[in-house]
């Protein structure tokens, strides 16, 4: 059976320091993640937000060593996993697991739910067959699926049920950290509410830490304790959720929050529609702040040098023009 969490473990589950990831492209190397540092404590949810292409999914995958790192270190549950070989990584995979956006794409359609949820236990050689069956029943119960679900196939289930299967599977090895990559983005509002409640219950019961990656700021504002905002491969602002939602400081965070639907002035028709090309970002390799093409505050300094992420108080900010109060 998966062991209970080791009580001697330190409070910090994940510590990422100066992590960079490069992808090869026809135009040379492209920096997808650029010197990102973050940490997550036991029982805590860090929300990671940003637009498509900002590197948030790559960062999530890099933390699990699913993509090659170019630089930086990752400490998972107190162990430096940066240089570990695949074989040496295996036991550590038990402490951190991933849940993906599209459960249908990440679940083998020919397998029953019982087999899908038991697979991680089989791979890691945990428990006898009856023990595994009992564990699967327990996991299905935890995510709010009926015991009969064991014999069903993914295509026989609704999107919300499939996502619960994905979560049960990720929980099979009793991880301490779940990386949730757009895990509720494809779900209808009412189903999303059910899955978010399940995640909250699991966190309260098991003390799980979540890295909650999403483009949906309303959802992140609901689930996260702290929020990190990513743009062009870098973190541009981090802080407690209430501060970020109430008083965003980076011009990009302000733009992002201002665009959340449902927060606009109801008397429509005042804003001028702007040109497209407005999703432009300065590529990582070029230096300077990634937000330069869209920023109203941008100066020569912003084009010449990337502002460092400066920590102050309970957050951090990377901007030449705005400072975070300590």
């Amino acid at each position: 059976m998966p062991p209970a969490p080791d009580p001697t473990l330190c409070d910090t589950i994940l510590e990422v320091h100066d992590l960079s990831v490069d992808y090869a492209s026809p135009h040379g190397r492209m920096r997808a993640v650029d010197r990102v540092s973050l940490s997550i404590r036991r029982g805590e949810t860090l929300g990671l937000v940003g637009e498509s292409g900002c590197g948030k999914s790559t960062l999530g995958r890099a933390i699990l060593r699913l993509v090659e790192l170019s630089a930086g270190t990752i400490r998972l549950a107190g162990t430096d996993v940066t240089g570990l070989s695949r074989a040496a990584l295996r036991p550590l995979r038990r402490s951190a697991q991933m849940v993906f956006q599209d459960p249908l794409a990440s679940l083998d359609p020919r397998w029953t739910v019982g087999r899908l949820v038991a697979e991680p236990l089989v791979i890691h050689g945990l428990g006898s067959r009856p023990e595994r069956q009992a564990r699967v029943r327990d996991l299905l119960d935890r995510v709010g699926l009926p015991a009969e679900a064991v014999g069903r196939f993914p295509h026989e289930m609704s999107g919300g049920q499939r996502q619960r299967v994905g979560i049960a599977r990720a929980l099979a090895l009793a991880p301490q950290l779940l990386i949730l990559d757009e895990a509720v983005s494809a779900l209808d509002v009412s189903v999303q509410a059910q899955v978010l409640n399940v995640l909250a219950d699991l966190q309260a019961e098991l003390g799980l830490a979540y890295l909650f990656i999403s483009h949906d700021l309303a959802v992140v504002d609901h689930v996260a304790d702290r929020v990190a905002v990513m743009l062009g491969g870098r973190l541009v602002e981090t802080g407690p959720r209430a501060r970020l939602a109430g008083n965003p400081l980076h011009p990009y965070t302000q733009e992002l929050l201002g665009a959340v639907p449902g927060h606009r002035d109801h008397s429509r028709g005042r804003q001028e529609a702007r040109e497209a090309g407005d999703d432009e970002v300065r590529p990582g390799g070029e230096g300077g702040c990634p937000f330069v093409p869209r920023c109203t505050l941008a100066t020569g300094q912003c084009r010449a040098e990337a502002p460092p992420l400066r920590a102050a108080g309970s957050g951090s900010l990377a901007c030449h023009h705005v400072a975070l109060a300590a």
Binding site: E51, S52, S158, G159, G160, D188, V189, S190, V191, Q192, A193, Q194, L196, N197, A200, H215, L217, A218, V219, D221, H222, V223, A242, A245, G246, E255, L256, G258, A259, V260, P261, G262, H263, R264, H266, R268, G269, Q271, E272, A273, R274, E275, A276, G277, D278, D279
Partner: protein
């Protein structure tokens, strides 16, 4: 002002086992005036996309659509089956009613340049030369505020960003100055900042052309920002049709209330609030009985009648709602509860 789109008794069904018909849309009615935005909102399987396709005569061949009245810009189409009179429908599409599709990458042809595709849309409805059509295409690309529109004419879809592609799709929908625009989840695939700008653009075009907009979406935030009126669908039927302000201030139907309550709310303090769930799930096409209210099995304020009698539309502030409880449910609602759209 007379509605430019007037629909009554619209039903869409798909073939089921043993010669049965499965109802995707049932007895739907609504009207939209020039310049007005009607949002059709609901969760997967509620019939909102089937409604959009029926308006354009674009349903798949195995679907059957009927209507007591379907009038688009003065032309009565309820008797016109798209299959028996394709020419009438083709003139409607693009000329009087046009669709903005969800996924611009699928809506655009990957091997034709943007210029060729937009010019083709112009030529589909007007007898003009390619040269004239190309000039019109350039105007349209300017109109949707694409940067360097001359360069975009020569570009292929994959060379543009998602937001730019959606602007091209909008340009094509505008090619023949439609009186009614139907937008099916037009910004679902886009980032929020780009989404806001594309919706601003659609609003701006609407103000200029006085086109009526049917905005199909699952996003209640978008509805709160953009819609004048809202039609909420559940399992193929309209449950509530209201002015947007009235709907968000005091939702009348228990389904609408549950839907609004299930959304995360901004600005919470103290311990993290639990999201309100709706027990059960949406009935599949084959599980939809004709009797009673479709929402009854999941409804928190269900009455015995709800299982046997189908509730008809009843007047409420700013519209109507199909609920047996409606007289009781609208009044005690305090506005503050739903104002956080």
């Amino acid at each position: 002002m007379d509605p430019v789109l007037d629909v009554d008794g619209l039903s869409v069904s798909f073939p089921g086992p043993r010669g049965t018909r499965l109802p995707a849309v049932e007895d739907l009615g609504f009207a939209v005036r020039p310049g007005e935005t009607l949002a059709i909102v609901g969760e997967s399987g509620c019939g909102k996309s089937a409604t959009a396709l029926a308006l354009l005569g674009l349903l798949p061949a195995n679907a059957a659509a009927t209507a007591r009245r379907l009038r688009i810009a003065g032309t009565e189409l309820s008797s016109a089956d798209p299959r028996s009179s394709p020419e009438i429908w083709r003139r409607q599409r693009g000329g009087r009613i046009a669709m903005i599709f969800q996924e611009p990458l699928t809506a655009l042809n990957p091997v034709l340049t943007i210029g060729e595709q937009v010019a083709e849309a112009v030529r589909a409805h007007e007898l003009v030369s390619w040269r004239t059509a190309r000039g019109r295409a350039l105007d349209l690309l300017r109109r949707v505020r694409l940067p360097s529109p001359e360069r975009c004419l020569e570009a292929y879809p994959h060379q543009l960003s998602g937001g730019m592609r959606q602007r091209v799709v909008i340009a094509m929908a505008l090619a023949c100055r439609p009186a009614v625009l139907v937008a099916d989840e037009p910004t679902t695939a886009l980032d929020v900042t780009v989404q806001a700008r594309v919706l601003d653009l659609i609003g701006e075009i609407q103000r200029e052309t006085r086109a009526a907009l049917v905005l199909i979406t699952h996003d209640l935030g978008v509805v709160a920002d953009r819609a004048d009126r809202v039609l909420v669908m559940y399992a193929g039927r309209a449950v509530e049709t209201r002015h947007a302000r009235d709907l968000f201030a005091a939702p009348a139907h228990p389904y609408t209330r549950a839907l609004l309550a299930a959304r995360p709310r901004p600005g919470w303090t103290g311990p993290r609030p639990r999201l309100a769930e709706i027990p059960g799930r949406v009935p599949g096409l084959a599980e939809r009985g004709a009797a009673g209210c479709r929402f009854a099995p999941r409804c928190a304020s269900v009455l015995p009648d709800c299982h046997t009698l189908r509730p008809g539309p009843r007047p409420v502030a700013g519209g109507e709602a199909a609920c047996h409880r409606v007289a009781e449910t609208t009044e005690p609602e305090e506005p503050a509860r739903a104002a956080c759209a």
